[in-house]
């Protein structure tokens, strides 16, 4: 079992504030791994560091064995490492279908290909995925007119459309109607199993992440506090203290 993502001794500071310090973790290919920690513990910063949103001060990030810490966001995305946003981001004035079509992978597109129409295969795939996330009927609506939860589903669909090898999900269940969470978890598992997409998930909802992830990392104050299988994490006194202590 090889690691698809290896983060090694990553450090990131903003001015004098240390957001991430000496973080080392690995995500094995084909698994679902969780990232938890109290608010402000540096989870989203770590995601930003991984996908190239900002430069890291020290350390290395390897995806699929290759160093990516110097690359910019679009390059990393084209290698198949994709993230979704905590504050859901979709293209508000475009229809859902258009949102999906433009999310098709950009890997080996020449300059001239940008003039072409999207191939029919893309369209079929977009519709299938919209069906999968439950938005098929709304495919011709403007994405900005959808409810927050629907936008979140759309963003998930767009990420799948991109055929990533690994997805970083920033709080996929936040703001989603509790009755829909089960369905979402089911979809995440299917994506992981059927499409073989590795998932690395930030999540605040403990019952979700404990059920979903096979392995969990816990951050506190910008440092790696604990790691282990869900049951180990649940029993870890340091983790409990971090959550209770911070709030």
């Amino acid at each position: 079992m090889t690691a698809i993502l290896e983060v090694e001794r990553v450090r990131k500071t903003f001015g004098g504030v240390v957001a991430n310090d000496d973080i080392t973790l690995a995500v094995p290919a084909g698994k679902i791994v969780g990232l938890i920690g109290p608010n402000g513990s540096g989870k989203t910063t770590l995601f930003h560091s991984i996908v190239g949103y900002h430069l890291i001060d020290a350390g290395s990030v390897r995806f699929d064995g290759r160093e990516i810490s110097g690359l910019r966001v679009p390059r990393i995305a084209r290698r198949g490492l994709l993230r979704t946003f905590q504050q859901t981001r979709i293209y508000g004035k475009m229809t859902c279908l258009e949102n999906m079509l433009i999310s098709a992978p950009q890997r080996e597109r020449s300059w001239l290909s940008i003039l072409r129409r999207p191939p029919a295969a893309d369209e079929a795939k977009a519709e299938d995925l919209l069906e999968f996330v439950g938005l098929y009927a709304k495919r011709r609506l403007r994405a900005g007119d959808l409810s927050f939860g629907q936008q979140k589903l759309l963003e998930f669909g767009m990420a799948l459309m991109n055929e990533p090898r690994m997805l970083l999900l920033d709080e996929p269940t936040a703001g989603i109607n509790p009755t829909l969470i089960k369905a979402l978890m089911h979809r995440l598992r299917r994506v992981n199993e059927e499409l073989a997409i590795t998932l690395f998930v930030i999540e605040h909802n403990m019952s979700v992440i404990m059920n979903l992830a096979e392995y969990i990392y816990c951050l506190a104050h910008g440092e790696l506090l604990a790691e282990g299988r869900p049951e180990e994490i649940r029993a870890d006194q340091r983790v409990i203290d971090a959550y209770l202590g911070a709030h």
Binding site: V51, R72, V73, P74, R75, A77, R78, L82, R83, F85, R89, I90, Y91, G92, K93, M94, T95, E98, N99, L101, I102, S103, P105, Q106, R107, R109, W111, S113, I114, L115, R116, R117, P118, Y136, A137, K138, R139, R140, L141, R142, D145, L146, S147, Q150, M158, N162
Partner: protein, 330 residues
């Protein structure tokens, strides 16, 4: 009638009318020629401003560069009128594209108001620079060569040239918007960070969009220089406070980010403006300032934008097939 068929009929009807206009109303040939110019202005501005969300006050630079480039070729190439004109237009387009590519790689990295202000500076800098450069006649401008044909032939020739340019611009943009390119620049408009996070070649798309705009603006500039016959650096070629702002207004008036909006806006604006010139002697520019304010303050969504908010289903934004309550339909 399906929208696509309707659009085809509309286009055909307008085109027939446009082709016949020089016979129907010969006295208005030049005014209508300028209507074509305005439509090109609005369409090419909208590529960036409406479709991509990059509001430029500096697109007039490509127009001016094309105008001067063509005039210089006509002056210095030592060719007959038509070969020189067509060579000049080719050079104009090439130069405008090259400039857009170079400027784009830097300026298109600026976002929001910074891009708008930078392009504002760019437009005026070009005008001031042209007024100081002796090679292109500095402040006294340039005169384009005399048209060789019979009297009145010049107007007809440039009328059809500009009409052809307008139709080409429209068709090319329509083709581009309907493909991947259109989706990509729309995505950049709606959320550029997201587009980058999805792996889109944003810089490539942005620069290409500006190059497409620049091509048609350069060609138009070349033709307009010859239609007017005289190139003034500040008032014709790099006319920021007039053409530069009008482009923006026409697109907004008709409806930013739509294909027909800029065409509609240009037509309405051009007619209004011509009326001002006719009936408000001396005060027309004041009235124009008021008009700008009125459009921006009271009608920022534009004609088609308003229609789309009013009847979203006519624009295809419908809930499909399964009869669910359309909670999302605006």
């Amino acid at each position: 009638m399906r929208p696509r068929t309707a659009s085809r009929w509309l286009l055909g009807g307008l085109l027939t009318l446009a082709l016949a206009a020089p016979w129907l109303v010969p006295a208005y040939r030049t005014q209508i020629s300028f209507l074509w110019v305005m439509i090109i202005f609005a369409l090419t501005w909208d590529t960036l401003g409406g479709q991509m969300g990059y509001n430029s006050f500096g697109n007039v630079v490509f127009f001016g560069v094309g105008m001067y480039a063509c005039a210089v070729v006509q002056r210095d190439a030592g060719l007959e009128y038509f070969p020189a004109l067509f060579l000049g237009m080719a050079v104009a387009a090439a130069l405008a594209v090259a400039l857009a590519a170079v400027l784009g790689s830097g300026l298109l990295g600026l976002r929001g108001q910074y891009f708008a202000i930078a392009t504002l500076g760019l437009g005026f800098a070009a005008g001031e620079f042209a007024s100081g450069w002796d090679f292109i006649g500095a402040g006294s401008g340039m005169v384009t060569p005399l048209y060789p044909g019979e009297v009145g032939g010049r107007e007809s020739f440039f009328y059809y040239l500009l009409l052809a340019l307008t139709v080409t611009t429209f068709l090319v943009l329509r083709r581009l918007y309907s493909g991947r390119f259109g989706l990509a620049i729309n995505a950049i408009r709606d959320d550029e960070d997201k587009a980058e996070a999805m792996g889109l070649h944003t810089t490539r798309y942005k620069t290409t969009a500006w190059c497409v705009s620049a091509t048609f603006l350069g060609l138009t500039g070349a033709a307009v220089g010859n239609l007017i016959g005289f190139i003034d650096p500040r008032d014709v070629a790099f006319a920021g406070p007039t053409f530069g702002v009008w482009m923006v207004l026409m697109a907004i008036l008709g409806g930013k980010g739509t294909l027909w909006g800029p065409v509609l806006g240009a037509a309405v604006f051009h007619v209004t403006q011509e009326l001002f010139w006719t009936y408000l002697l001396g005060w027309q520019r004041v009235a124009l300032g008021l008009l700008i304010l009125a459009i921006v303050l009271f009608f920022p969504v534009g004609i088609l934008g308003w229609a789309r908010e009013r009847w979203p289903e006519r624009f295809g934004h419908t809930v499909d097939e399964r009869p669910e309550p359309a909670e999302g339909g605006s």
